[in-house]
Amino acid sequence: MRKLVALVTAIVVIPASVATAADLDELLERSHEASYSAEQIISCNTPDGLRDAVVRLAQDGVDIWIGSTASGDVEVAAGSGGWTLLRGGDTVSSASVGTGERADDPLYSVEDEAAFLFLGRSATTYNLVRDGVLRAKLAFDQETGAMVNVTTFLEDGTAYCQRRFISFDSAAPDLASVTPIEGETLRQLEGVPTTLPEAIAGFDRLDLYLDDDGSTFAYYSDGFFSFAVFETPTTVSLPDGIAVQVGESVYERSFTAGQATYVWETRVGGMALVGDLPPDLHESVLAALPESEAPGLLRRLWRSLFG
């Protein structure tokens, strides 16, 4: 009898065994195609201080609408390779990419599955581990597959960002009135020489795009976190950016709730990095990119006179 009790206890307490990377794909794919309405609080403990936000979300399949709870005039419509930012109903900026590659071999394993209640609904949590380091805890709503709670971590185990639903409605929203994606589709470049590496610190360069203004950008992903690196003919302004030294170079940096942005100058133009990767990975990623370097006097003179 005691053996039977011990066996039952073990079945109940011991979490599920390590899953494969394919499981992560399935979980993310299901979440990517979920439908619901929710309010989400985002809170990030960045090296430059706390950044937080509360947003309203509505997802219907691959289309997402994002609005502010504080200001009703800012909203985003995104999905299927498009992104439009509106203010007061007018488009502020938009972009569209036609296709994109997927990370072939995500570096993550999914561990320690456990069931619990979240906002009164059945949910399942998973630990996302990369190279033996816990990088994220993900909670999915069992009925819809929506990702209802995400906590990401630094390498030392410190929590970096939490994105948590504070209200949830599993009914499919009506996104028919959402402004369609505007803007020209960026061209994907293949086989074009670039100074941007094929892989950086475990992040693979999945694709490379060219914009009409002559700038290019590459998209990197490790299967969960991702970032884009931009090369522009001129510099990039970063409002509220602060000068920081990372490794051997100086950059302008800005954090928002969930996103880090670095901009810097090179001898031939400007560069920027935008992404959600945790700060402890920033130095190794930036070190692999063309270094920050002030252009010469003649170059600056030329830019001032002729752009």
């Binding site: 299927s80 296709t99 960026l186 884009a228 990039v236 302004s237 003179l301 001032s304």
Partner: protein, 137 residues
């Protein structure tokens, strides 16, 4: 018959000599029109010379000669200095003035967002809208 009006003026200015002078005097002796013209010019010149000379009060054109003459003498130097000054202003402006900006962070975020929306991980885990953020103090 041609009437040498220019030679009359030159004669009155004392610039006519030799054959030209003799030729003019011979012409004037036989041409009443040219004689009358010369007399008229002489009268105008006499009237101008009879006008009183006015002295400008001190300070109306202060040190005009002192300022103008050295500039004329050092014209090349001043032109060189002005060119150097213009070059210096351009160089300083080039250093101090930030280069023109072609791309805004909003545009970069939109491009990143567009690409991320194709990613399987795109979900509430990836949603970032900088303008919606409330930065804690």
């Amino acid at each position: 018959m041609t009437h040498p009006s220019e030679q009359i003026s030159a004669y009155l200015d004392g610039e006519l000599h030799g054959k030209e002078l003799n030729g003019l005097l011979e012409h004037l002796s036989g041409c009443g029109r040219c004689s009358a013209e010369m007399e008229e010019i002489q009268n105008v010149r006499a009237a101008v010379r009879s006008l009183p000379v006015l002295e400008l009060p001190d300070g109306v054109v202060p040190d005009a000669d002192a300022a103008v003459l050295p500039m004329r003498r050092n014209r090349g130097l001043w032109v060189g200095a002005a060119a150097a000054m213009v070059a210096l202003v351009i160089a300083v402006a080039a250093i101090v003035t930030p280069p023109p900006t072609a791309v805004s962070v909003d545009d970069l975020s939109s491009r990143f967002g567009a690409r991320v929306s194709l990613d399987p991980a795109f979900s509430p885990a990836k949603v970032v809208v900088p303008e919606l953020n409330v930065v804690s103090e």
